[in-house]
């Protein structure tokens, strides 16, 4: 049967956190959790997660800064050297402000771009948006979803497991 997964609704962040831990303990691996605000510790409860945003930001900053400095050095020393009263063409202290600004710009663009790409955004259509109750995920409800691509996924089993977590609602998400 084509479906996205099994969705359970909870009333609070702590219940969602507990449910995520118990679902992972029950052996499920492809679990997603949805909350209206960032919940501390939720990602870890869902399984190992490596945050690659800091590294990407660093790379962006280095690229921006190095590229910015290279641009100034190339234009002032190689492409169009101007002799201003015998001062050195490679007058590095004057190159620092632009280098700094471009390093910040590169880092910020990589941080935001990396966040969007790794999150797969923009995704204007998503199966979860077909679930009417899911509107509340951006308001006051918390959701746990076991994906049907999970190796141990069995609709009846998963439903029974999620019901045991004391949710407000359990519903299958059509693909």
């Amino acid at each position: 049967m084509a479906s996205y997964g099994m969705l359970a609704e909870f009333a609070s962040a702590d219940e969602l956190l507990e449910a995520a831990r118990r679902t992972r303990a029950a052996g499920y691996r492809r679990i997603e959790a949805y909350s209206p605000f960032p919940v501390h510790g939720l990602v870890e409860a869902l399984g190992p997660h490596r945050d690659r945003i800091p590294l990407l930001t660093l790379i962006g900053g280095i690229l921006g800064g190095a590229g910015g400095y290279f641009m100034q050095w190339y234009s002032a020393v190689i492409s169009f050297p101007i002799n201003v009263g015998g001062r050195p063409a490679h007058s590095w202290p004057s190159f620092i402000p632009v280098t700094f600004e471009l390093a910040v710009l590169g880092a910020a663009l990589f941080a935001v771009g990396g966040m969007l790409v790794l999150n797969g955004l923009p995704t204007l259509y998503h199966p979860l948006f077909n679930v009417e109750a899911f509107e509340l995920a951006s308001r006051n409800r918390f959701y746990l979803c076991v994906r049907c691509s999970d190796a141990r996924y069995d609709a009846v089993e998963v439903e029974r497991h999620l019901e045991s977590l004391d949710p407000l609602l359990v519903q299958e998400v059509p693909a």
């Binding site: 997603e32 909350s35 402000p97 880092a107 990396g114 966040m115 969007l116 509340l136 951006s138």
Partner: protein, 455 residues
Amino acid sequence: MAKSVAPALEPTQPPARQTYASVSDRIADLVLKRRSRWPWFLGFTLALLCMLAFCVACAVLFWKGPGIWGVNIPVAWGYAIGNFVWWIGIGHAGTFISAILLLLRQHWRTSINRFAEAMTLFAAGIAGIFPVLHLGRPWFFYWLLPYPNVMELWPQWRSPLVWDIFAISTYLIVSLLFWYIGLIPDLATLRDRAKTRGRQIVYGLFALGWRGEARHWARHQSAYLLIAGLATPLVVSVHSVVSLDFAIGNTPGYHSTIFPPYFVAGALFSGFAMVLTLAIPLRHFFRLHDLITLQHLENAAKVLLATGWLVAYGYLCEIFMAYYSGDRFEMYVVKDRLAGPYAPVYWALLVCNVLVPQVLWWRKARRNVALLFVLSLVVNMGMWMERFLIVVSSLHRDFLPSSWGMFHPTGWDWTHLIGSIGTFALLFLLFVRFLPAISIYEIREQLHEQRKEGA
């Protein structure tokens, strides 16, 4: 599932009685449900007229050139540069609130960071227009950027004016990114709560399909925090670079090492004044007294008092250094400010920026909303006079008395200034009408942290 509409909260109701649902609905409904009333329409009409006047003034400027302003040799920098420095400074408080206070875990920032960031964006955008208008041939503004061109020319990297365009553009882009990624979860809230198809589509497009998945949140928070960390040195660098436009030159009164910190302190001072100018009407008209509390206003007032003293230190230091240097021209700049033709401006700015803010030592004054509003306007005005005086007083009497002169503003100078204020007001009015003026998800998070519950 039917959504229950939360009852409107009483202004005196403590935040502890609010729930995730009630704060979400309340802030979202300011945009989605609340009908605009006459104060908004009145403000909008006035701001629109000022914006149109600004457009007319710009068109005349493009047609006739900067001769329509009072600038001439020796005072070639007039209102346009003063306005630029003033506006960019106003923007800085928004970054300070959203980035530096975030890193310092000052939780009170949550209810004011969103509109302060919007203020930053609009102020920096308007600031960016002025140097371009000032160029004389504004249609060649892109010559400041490095791009492949048939003239095979590059920007002059040793010029602070080139540093400036990099600093301002970076600041604008980073402020926009910071503001936008903070908005994404709230746009999703608006998308999910909107009833009409048009709104669902528009907010849905800008929300990028945000679902609030735990890993998405982790990356979002990581990026948000990193950009806050980046914005912190950035904001200091931007106004430092702006001050270098002056300090690198050898004009007496400009050529001083105090300029970068002095400009940054002045920026925070005027920016916090503008935060108060915007927050007080916002909480009054939208009845947000329980979210933007007296404590918020009092904290902003304390920052105003502290940065006011930094600015006062800058004034003192300028006078001291002029005499300590023994340079006749530097000493003359001080004498000219105290008793020359622009002395009334100097004394007025001392009253506005140093004397009047001292009422904030009293707790009663810090908690008097009407007084704070008036004071914030006084400080805004004082800071504008300071920027004007820095730009003009050094230029009008520099070295040779035979080349001294005066600057007299024309009607177009005033039109550009007032028009830019109207444009800022217009953008802000549109912002409070179409976007959540308070960060919804951060308020929910704060509620969670406060009580660890609240469905």
